[in-house]
């Protein structure tokens, strides 16, 4: 079962075996703008993506302030 990475309402299927950082870059997400979690735990971006992973990204960038 492929791994999935979800950011807001978009889910991407990603191959297992690479680092999270590499997987994020492949799907066009800047790792510095998100916090990856798996089962409610924060992950560092050197974690390897495993088969069946359900990784939820929390967007950290807010805006509209002066």
């Amino acid at each position: 079962m492929p791994a999935e990475i979800t950011l807001r309402d978009q889910t991407h299927a990603v191959a297992s075996g690479s680092t999270l950082r590499h997987a994020l870059e492949k799907i066009g997400v800047n790792p510095d703008t998100v916090l990856p979690t798996r089962d409610g735990e924060l992950l560092t971006d050197d974690e390897l993506v495993r088969d069946g992973d359900r990784i939820r990204l929390i967007a950290v960038i807010s805006g509209g302030r002066q």
Binding site: N30, P31, D32, T33, L35, T37, E41, L42, L43, T44, D45, D46, E47, I58, A59, V60, I61, S62, G63, G64, R65, Q66
Partner: protein
């Protein structure tokens, strides 16, 4: 990745610091860093009363949490902007702020803009030239006025906001692109008090937004995830994206940009031109807050105009605009 301090599993890798920490040590590290900045920039002392502007978001609630943990006397101020139509944004953010205050037995002042001023921010923006295209200008004007007014009325010596490093460098970047030297001269961790204005401080100014978010998550702080619906397309978000792309290639560039700016400013880089007159500030005859206008301040002019237009409908005008 292992925690640099104890070797346990790290939860956050901060490439710009070459530092990765476990949950326990990160939750110690961030308040320690905040304290370091509070002291370095002489933001406030433990015996001063601090008013924290809380929006229900991760930065302001995280800041309030840190200040409380550090033992400072910090109360909160939430401003209900009335941004609810279709999004429930203000209702949700208010609920988050109130829940945090109650859980920590903290004092939260609430100012309701629609009730107090007569219209929500989106409505006011539609009725004024200032807010012609977006409510942000009216929103900022209103929030700054209310924050200062409340701080003065309740005797707080310091107003603290949750601005983080990403916020600061986005503003710095924009002001540098246009060489807005007036704004650049006033940007920094501390805006000193002036007659009629309380001191404003940004204790999180050197913390990356990602660090602030991690703190809120790890502390279990319930904050509003959704953005203000009017933030879409905001220039600040665009600048943050540009800066984060640079950061991805060159970790630490955002912090370096900010610290170098502070150093340059301290070294006199933004001295006013010789002979330039300092703006003459006089109290607004309506609200008493300082203004350079020579008459009524821009906040009072704006809201007088809003209330006037609401009470004297023009033909063909929608008197109940959304928001």
């Amino acid at each position: 990745m292992k925690c640099r301090k104890c070797g346990d599993r790290a939860v956050l890798n901060m490439r710009h610091h070459r530092l990765s920490l476990c949950r326990e040590h990160f939750l110690e590290w961030l308040p320690q860093q905040t304290l370091r900045f509070i002291e370095k920039y002489h933001m406030f002392t433990p015996d001063e009363r601090i008013l924290v502007a809380v929006s229900g978001g991760k930065d302001s609630l995280g800041l309030w949490d840190v200040l409380q943990r550090l033992g400072y006397q910090a109360d909160g101020l939430y401003i209900n902007l009335g941004i609810d139509q279709g999004s429930g944004y203000s209702s949700t953010s208010r609920q988050k702020a109130a829940a945090f205050a109650e859980a920590h037995q903290l004092t939260l002042h609430v100012v309701d803009v629609p009730a107090e001023l007569g219209a929500s921010i989106p409505t006011a923006a539609m009725l004024t030239h200032r807010g012609l295209h977006k409510p942000c200008s009216v929103c900022g004007l209103t929030k700054r006025h209310i924050m200062n007014r409340l701080a003065r009325d309740f005797g707080y010596g310091v107003l603290a906001t949750g601005h983080n490093l990403d916020d600061e460098v986005a503003v710095l970047f924009g002001n540098t692109l246009s060489w807005a030297t007036g704004y650049l001269a006033r940007q920094g961790p501390v805006l000193d008090a002036e007659p009629g204005f309380v001191r404003k401080v940004k204790p999180f100014c050197r913390l990356y937004e990602r660090e602030s978010a991690a703190y809120a998550l790890l502390r279990g702080i319930e904050y509003i995830y959704e953005e203000c619906p009017h933030a879409e397309g905001a220039t600040s978000i665009y600048y943050k994206d540009v800066l984060n792309r640079m950061e991805a290639e060159r970790p630490g560039i955002k912090l370096s940009f900010y610290l170098s700016f502070l150093q340059a400013r301290a070294g006199g880089f933004l001295q006013p031109a010789t002979g330039a007159a300092r703006p003459n500030m006089q109290p607004c005859p309506n609200c008493g807050q300082p203004t350079t206008s020579g008459g009524t301040c821009s906040f009072c002019r704006t809201w007088d105009s809003v209330r006037s237009r609401l009470s004297t409908p023009a033909e063909g005008m929608d008197h109940n605009p959304p928001g």
